[in-house]
Symmetry: D2
């Protein structure tokens, strides 16, 4: 759903030839219905539009989707539309994997990044035939929590300060006017700073007795839009409870192989190394690192970190996350893969 | 000195028709000697080159400058050249106002922003006929300390976290290649993060018994180069000892009229309000705020702040400083004006 | 009219403190009515919004304007709205100076650039109390005809080939999405290529027996949008009937002082030299030359030409025109000034 | 040779796993010798550096290359170095495929694009054991002649006017400073306009009696540098001797399968369709079309054309050519493939 937009098209790209899911039905709003995907294609840098069986954008409703036997819905809807629609889809028994923010903080909706809190999907167990919603996080939050996850046991952070340099595609298309962006920075992205704190706390929280208790971790965030196409850069300062060395932080990142722990088999969109540490003085850079991640299907799913410094008990570093892949469509596809492996998507 | 470079030309612009100083001699390196200022002009946005009496770039040495009776030198030299040359100029009795970093941390060199620590110029009193060096700070540091100065008594900060979005002109000309900058961010500026901490501490320090004792104030900095022409944006998080409200911070900024306190008469390049608080949700922006400052001669000398938030005991805001004016040539010109008013430049 | 848009705000800027016209009433569409000019200001590079007496954007109709005794209307309306509205304003006796394309090719509407065909205003003589419409040309056409005008007698051109590099502001605000513009060029601007030919022919035409006979001059145009803020660059190739030298072309440009010929007194917005020839190898450039024109009130009204070459009987050169000033609001203001001097605006 | 530069690295990329040629030796200047290709990699958008066997940049001389038995040299040297060095390499029996301009107009050096004038390689026949130089054309010229080639019989053009929008990478690395490029266009590229005419005439010329007679075809060119990363856009106006329709021009492009005619087997880097006509109103665009060309090894080798119009006897259109692939390294690799097929590279 939302196949005419930036994230929706990343969904189309990632779901083409997917080993777990069949070619998607492309659902779009009234303006785009009837057009071919190639006629509204927004992602030239990612290559030509995928050659799907069904290339025409169509109108769908929860009723039509249910009657067609659709089991899995990927949602790239604007948040205001996503709210009621996703609820209705779940009520009708569908599994909804959503990039929208509408339900992220709902008590019964897991907000998941497999490498960070894949176990939160267990919130959905024992639901019988019911549908459900699983959301991925905000694009900036995704980068932050993936990079922090392996450091939590080491640093036991008291607080985190994060400042973002967010790419234009984070605002969708048409998004930011060129006259507002060229030779400029926009130091305001509605609600972004609040989301960073709330979502990180929920994802780092623990699932107990069928509910998620968020981790108490203050996040101080400043978010700005800069003139890059894709890839959010973030400057992070972590206040550590314990003294740590640069080496121990690097070791924690290097040893981070969370999907091996999951032991539910390999997920096609999962990167071998979710965090890649670059030793060069001037990395990560959006242009060089946004597509990090192996194997090919996991391109754009790795978070690149670099410029690590320790000063007093602060850990300082930069990270780069592909906002539309790891922080968008790719995140939801990976969630669906994990849900399937966990047996949440029927037989 | 250094009149063929970006900062050097801002000097030329600001010194043209200056009420205190005569038209400058334009000193430049061998490649530019003999050329006219208009032939090497780098600042089209600031208008055409100023119509100085002496428009030809010339070669100078400390000897020639001394023999011509030059009393005041403005230096926009690269730091490695500036080191020995500025020392020699001072030794020969000249007053050197420098934008170079070479001598900023020297014990006998005041690192000054008049509105912040104009009294540090008193370090130079009782020197008889000797020359001296006065430096302005690093461009990012200038914005930070001007914005923080009026908040110090209120916040008694324990530490400051700052993340920069620095403009291309901060790297001089030719500086950053377009292929490295377009659709990219470079998260590394050599030594910048260290300078921010050291220089802020020195400028906030106190002059006692002929020496400056730096303020103990840890600064955690992350510095990156983005694709804007001029104007450094900075995201600041201050850890406050006391609880404060947004209103009290705004009041401190609004009431900041430091040059009135100096009571040494008006300085032509001093802005009426050194800190301008914008209430709009999406300010400050490089494109809109870099030239802040009144009167006309103080354009680019005001630091614009905005997006103020208080979260727990943290104060968060964005600031914008014109890197080449307040954080460069304008800073040194203002220092020279204050030095003259204080009687440090002879009769 | 249209004061919330890019050209409308250039009108506001140019009409502030205008010696001939009183401060404008700012008319805007329903979305902007009630807002202050400073709250919708789009032109930071041109400085802060002008301090007009009436700073609030208001709703107007032909009726209200007539009843308030408005005599002169400047229109920056979108073309589809401009069509009927401007006709109605003229019908009610007002003089309409329009930047819209709706009426440019109307038989009874002069399409005027004073330096090129100021005499076409005579089409409006002997109209008694009637109102009228005067339009300025398309932004690209303005640069072309001003540069060509002094060359016509010399070259007697058989045809002209022109290729444009048009700035983002030519598409208004919000205009081109940043994701469509960054690292890209859009080789299509609707109707632009046709307008270039038709409008140039009409402006170079002769007024005889109360009608304008267009000059037969084929214009072959290719128009593209590039990622600059303001200032259209154009590459021109003129096919000359006679052999000419570089020097004779330069002399024709240098000797072009058309407003002196008009002998109706100085017009405040008219540049001393409408065409400025730059001898540098790499000029004109949008960044350096868009604000060409003296005196201050005529900034952006001069067309800059350069890189002149003669090859066989072709004359090749580049020109730069400020699309929103000479090719927009400034053009209409200058037309109104000439109309007033010619006695077309009442007593 | 020249492996540390932009074109040199495109060579490395294209020669990796090449079916005809073994992994290259990477020759570079003194600054880069000893570095790994990955440490100087300039082409992040094209992916990571190829995994060559020999990844270290080395110093070479004609002597060392000869003694190592090197038979084929690809040269991405700066033109001034290329002149004598390439001559010496050929003298020592090597086949030099060069992107440098130094020898392009030499009588005994074919200037070749296989689809345009592959038969010019016959100039090298019957040379015994001697080496030789084959050059590809200037990057802008490559796009122009490929697009024009299939139109020549149809249009019998009298003259061609071309205006370029050339990408930053055409100036190499570091190339254009970001402060000269951001929000700007540079309407001057040394010698480019002359090259366009001379090289097109030579390539369209006929090989008779062991010499190439250039086609008499005046080219009127205006060349400018714009702020895109890769892909030169060109606006073309062809003056046709005969009246033609849009359809007949499209048919000529669609029917252009020159490598089939060559009948020397498939060349790996040759695109199936050297000219791709896009029917969309706003194509070609650098961002969308620079990588045109199938199969995978021919990505960036197709020239995309669009916006075709016929006006009087002028044919107007836009074209896009990947300056560093078709107009650079790819062009030379394709030349070498053809030379091998033609038996010019020994057994």
């Amino acid at each position: 759903m939302g196949a005419s937009g930036w994230i929706g098209q990343h969904f189309a790209r990632l779901l083409a030839d997917h080993p777990f899911f069949e070619d998607p039905i492309l659902s779009a709003g009234p303006k785009s219905v009837g057009k071919l995907l190639e006629d509204v294609w927004l992602l030239p840098e990612e290559g030509p539009p995928p050659s799907l069986t069904a290339r025409t954008l169509v109108h769908t409703t929860p009723e039509t989707l249910e009657s067609e036997g659709v089991e899995v819905v990927f949602s790239a809807l604007p948040s205001d539309e996503a709210g009621p629609l996703e609820t209705e889809l779940a009520r009708r028994g569908m599994a909804v994997f959503s990039n929208a923010s509408a339900h992220r903080m709902d008590r019964d909706v897991p907000l998941v990044i497999p490498e960070v809190n894949g176990d939160h999907l267990n919130l959905l167990k024992n639901r019988g035939k019911q549908g459900f919603i699983v959301t991925n996080s905000n694009c900036s939050t995704a980068g932050l929590v993936v990079a922090l996850k392996p450091l939590l046991p080491l640093l036991k952070p008291r607080e985190v300060t994060v400042t973002t340099y967010q790419a234009l595609s984070g605002a969708g298309y048409p998004g930011v006017p060129s006259l507002a962006s060229l030779d400029n920075i926009l130091p305001y992205i509605p609600d972004e700073e609040t989301k960073l704190g709330l979502e990180a706390s929920k994802m780092f929280g623990s699932l107990q007795n069928g509910a998620i208790t968020p981790l108490e971790l203050p996040v101080y965030a400043n978010c700005a839009r800069v003139g890059t196409r894709e890839g959010h850069l973030e400057a992070v300062v972590v206040d550590s409870k314990s003294e740590v060395s640069v080496d121990s932080v690097c070791a924690a990142w290097a040893g981070f192989r969370p999907m091996a722990d999951v032991r539910e088999g390999t997920l096609p969109t999962a990167p071998e190394s979710p965090v890649i540490y670059r030793t060069e003085l001037n990395r990560p850079q959006p242009l060089l690192d946004r597509w990090a991640g192996t194997p090919v299907r996991a391109k754009g799913m790795a978070v690149t970190v670099g410029r690590l410094r320790v000063q007093n008990r602060k850990i300082l570093f930069y990270l780069l996350v592909h906002n539309a892949v790891r922080g968008g469509a790719g995140g939801s596809v990976l969630n669906a893969e994990l849900a399937l492996r966990k047996g949440l998507l029927g037989d």
